[in-house]
Symmetry: C2
Subunit: 196 residues, 2 copies
Amino acid sequence: MTHDLILQHVGKHVSLEKEEAAYFISLLQEVKVPKKGLVLKEGQLCKTISFVNAGALRAYHINKEGKETTVMFALPDWWITDMFCFIHLRPAILNIEAIESSSIFQLKKDDLDTLYLKVPKFERFFRILMQNAYIREQLRMIEKLSLPAEERYIHFLDKYPLIAEKITQKQIASYLGITPEFLSTIRANRAKRIIS
Amino acid sequence: MTHDLILQHVGKHVSLEKEEAAYFISLLQEVKVPKKGLVLKEGQLCKTISFVNAGALRAYHINKEGKETTVMFALPDWWITDMFCFIHLRPAILNIEAIESSSIFQLKKDDLDTLYLKVPKFERFFRILMQNAYIREQLRMIEKLSLPAEERYIHFLDKYPLIAEKITQKQIASYLGITPEFLSTIRANRAKRIIS
DNA sequence: CGTCTATTTGAATGTACTCAAAAGCGGTGG
DNA sequence: CCACCGCTTTTGAGTACATTCAAATAGACG
């Protein structure tokens, strides 16, 4: 359980003194999650944000009709949480599960708030993270509103090849906002077109 | 052109010394925009972020088929820009126009970067802003993926009554991701149901 | 007042969904 | 190690939600 990856990751945006790095790491708790294990369950208080050190996670929401929609995937070097509930200390509206056996570092809300005060560099670090997350979501919304399902599917494969190879089509479909059956016919149509 | 609103707004999240406030304000440039005036045009470099002091703005994207999708609205006390292009210094993919005659304060990217260094409190301030923006977009995506058009319409009226009363149905439709014709039939159906 | 755009209405169409059933695939236990 | 179980994927038919196109009406603004 080295912290090389996370320190390198933080180092991309801010440079830490030795003691700052040590303090930061002291706040992290490593958690191993087996495949299909839940890191967060809807209704629970979401008290932590997780950095993926190894493996892959998925956050999804289930609406009142039982329909599942995938909010995000996270590979190593990504942070994931139910941000709304983490920030406002509300019961989670998302589930977060391990797609494969994973190792994550969890940071508690309270500790993060203290970290901001003790090492203000982390304000910058998380500002950049939030900024990128916001931009990603905004671009995703523009795609969702302006492109048909097939083009969104192609973009997804293009943008997230490493994710695509780890997950099922059902999960891709629920990220794109279509049914697995429809994704299947999209793929069948493409295959036909490519042959002819 | 007082800066009361913006200072009060910043004050909600961080408290500034007199000189810090003065410095911050010195970086702002007031711009008056007439109704239908463009603050940002697709293809231009997006060098500024705008705080709405009075009036109302709208950011929208036009895809290659000419279909327009509204990315966000901004009332007084909101910040608006093409965040992707602002951060990465790319040609804008969004247009930003005034829905009504407006007064905005513009902050240049360079000045913002300097501001972060000189007054690190602003890292915190914008971290919180970005965090909220991220959460909003994420919740919007969950709605878009899991609710039918009619429910999204009701939620919109509920969540943004002040915006709803200023804009056209066409603009609401383009925010919800439906055609104006379909929004019209949704409204007609609701009216019928309410009468009977 | 006239023009331009937004809104409504309706008919025809298309994209995506539901339901159902079969085929494929992966994991697990005997 | 193979057979079985459960889940994913495919396929197809019927359906529903939403779009397109067109035309009429209503509203906003100079």
